[in-house]
Symmetry: C2
Subunit: 310 residues, 2 copies
């Protein structure tokens, strides 16, 4: 079984390494020149929990250099690069190629549907984390888990055996009918913390220290919940509110500046269109007003523009 990682960044190379080490036939595709060259020439250097686990010669290509057909494609890009990446690897799909997508944010199924049948889309959410310590260097900590669901649940057998096989490599995937709920719960948390920390200019603990943080949280979550339910997902707002509150302490995630904050500071475009921006977009479809997510999305985009982020 040929497995392609479309995007070999932090999470992609972590999962790719785990499967490769478990003797799966793994190939990477990436667009970052230096990263590709380093992995090609010296192998992927793997450092987990501060331990150097050696270098792994996982085949890696730039999209225009790769051919053949693959059975499973893990997409592991930034949300904005999902469509361009799929365009650049779609010649590697066969009739029954499965795509695994565990990107943060909302709206990815709509994109994926343009490339494969719904029964071949495996959509999920993860709490695994990872990082890069420079081109060719994976630097990760701890463990995690994945929740996964086949969008159209017919002929589930192959997916379930895939899950089993990936779990032999330690990916810790749970096939779950509640995956959409988990995706929305994670997206809801991000719609609050990523946006507000960026606009207020603070970390998660500081956000939590403001005595009216729950009012801010609810201003966004009331819209997330209403739109999610219109989408047919049983979004439990009190669960998201608790998830947010539970990470305020400094020894949990309080000292953390959310990824969108970091992208903004680093001069990159953000994933706002797949968070609050997705709520605005879906709200329009369902005729649900989303004034707060609308204005947050516009403010984040104006900040990107004024900072000349790319």
């Amino acid at each position: 079984m040929k497995i392609l990682f479309a995007g070999a960044g932090a999470l992609g190379s972590r999962f790719g390494y785990m499967l490769f080490k478990n003797n799966e036939d793994v190939t990477f595709v990436d667009t970052w020149e230096e990263h590709v060259e380093n992995i090609k020439n010296k192998g992927l250097k793997v450092i987990i929990d501060e331990v150097d686990l050696g270098n792994y010669y996982i085949p890696i290509y730039k999209p225009e250099q790769i051919s053949g057909k693959y059975d499973v494609i893990f997409v592991a890009t930034k949300s904005m690069q999902l469509r361009p990446m799929l365009d650049s690897v779609k010649h590697l799909f066969h009739e029954d190629t499965k795509i695994v997508c565990i990107l943060n944010g909302l709206g990815h199924v709509e994109t994926l549907k343009d490339y494969v049948k719904e029964e071949n889309i495996l959509i999920g959410v993860t709490v695994w984390t990872s990082g890069l310590g420079g081109p060719g260097i994976l630097k990760a900590h701890g463990t995690g888990k994945i929740e996964l669901k086949q969008v159209k649940e017919i002929n589930l057998d192959r997916t379930l055996s895939l899950v089993e096989r990936f779990n032999e490599a330690g990916l810790n995937i749970k096939y779950s009918a509640d995956t959409y709920q988990s995706i929305w719960h994670k997206a809801g948390l991000n719609c609050v913390l990523n946006s507000f920390c960026t606009l207020i200019d603070c970390n998660i603990n500081q956000y939590g220290s403001y005595d009216k943080n729950l009012q801010l949280t609810r201003a966004v979550l009331n819209e997330v919940t209403a739109v999610g339910r219109a989408e047919g997902v049983d979004v439990k707002q009190e669960v998201i509110e608790n998830n947010i509150k539970n990470i305020f302490p400094l020894d949990i995630a309080g000292a953390h500046y959310p990824s969108l904050y970091q992208d903004m500071k680093n001069g990159w475009l953000t994933e706002i269109d797949f968070l609050n921006g997705a709520i605005s977009r879906l709200g329009k479809i369902h005729n649900i007003p989303t004034p707060v997510c609308d204005v947050i999305t516009l403010m984040i985009h104006s900040k990107e523009f004024i900072n000349n982020n790319k």
Copy 2:
């Protein structure tokens, strides 16, 4: 006629100087120790349009040191200090003391009503600007004008003769029934530019350079207009939108960071409760939803709190 300036900051000392120089009986009250001492000992140093016009020994006191009765009180504080200032000078009012209030923002009439009869409240709006070059030093540029209205229009004679007398000193006051409209038009502009420039972290020109700035502007102004009309004021949204657009160029006011932005950066509390916060408060009274002003007010307050502004 005894005239008191309750607050002798930038604008207060400018108008006070103009009246004093025109032989009016002017007294200052201020809480800034060094400012009071300098004016007492060396006079108010007046520099207008870069020309040093000399030092003026205008009587100045701290609130607890002053006695007597005054016929006209100009209030010239920050919005948040209006009520504490009125509390500290209310022993200087007689039965028919007039209060002139040309502070930025909304909601001041409600405060003033707790101290004098409505026919003694003169509410207005100004485009005069001014600054301080340190304690005891007035540093101002250009000229301006004032629009003024007596809240309850009975026995207007004295007010109209006051206006005439103040205009002899160059204050350039127009008594106008449309003053409320002008106040709301100015507040509407500030509800947009002061808040967004602070949250996006940009100057007025940069705000205007974002191609969707009109969407942001309207997200706020739709609420301002609806609430203003419920208050009985003929708010013309297209006028505010044009006023905003017209100051985008760098050679108009584009290079300017709005006062709220400056207060935030300087570690001070902001006037948000008298701008977007006032829209939220009045919206509740009229049962008009103001989700955008609500969330902006909360974000600005959280930023003040996290920055430890005072």
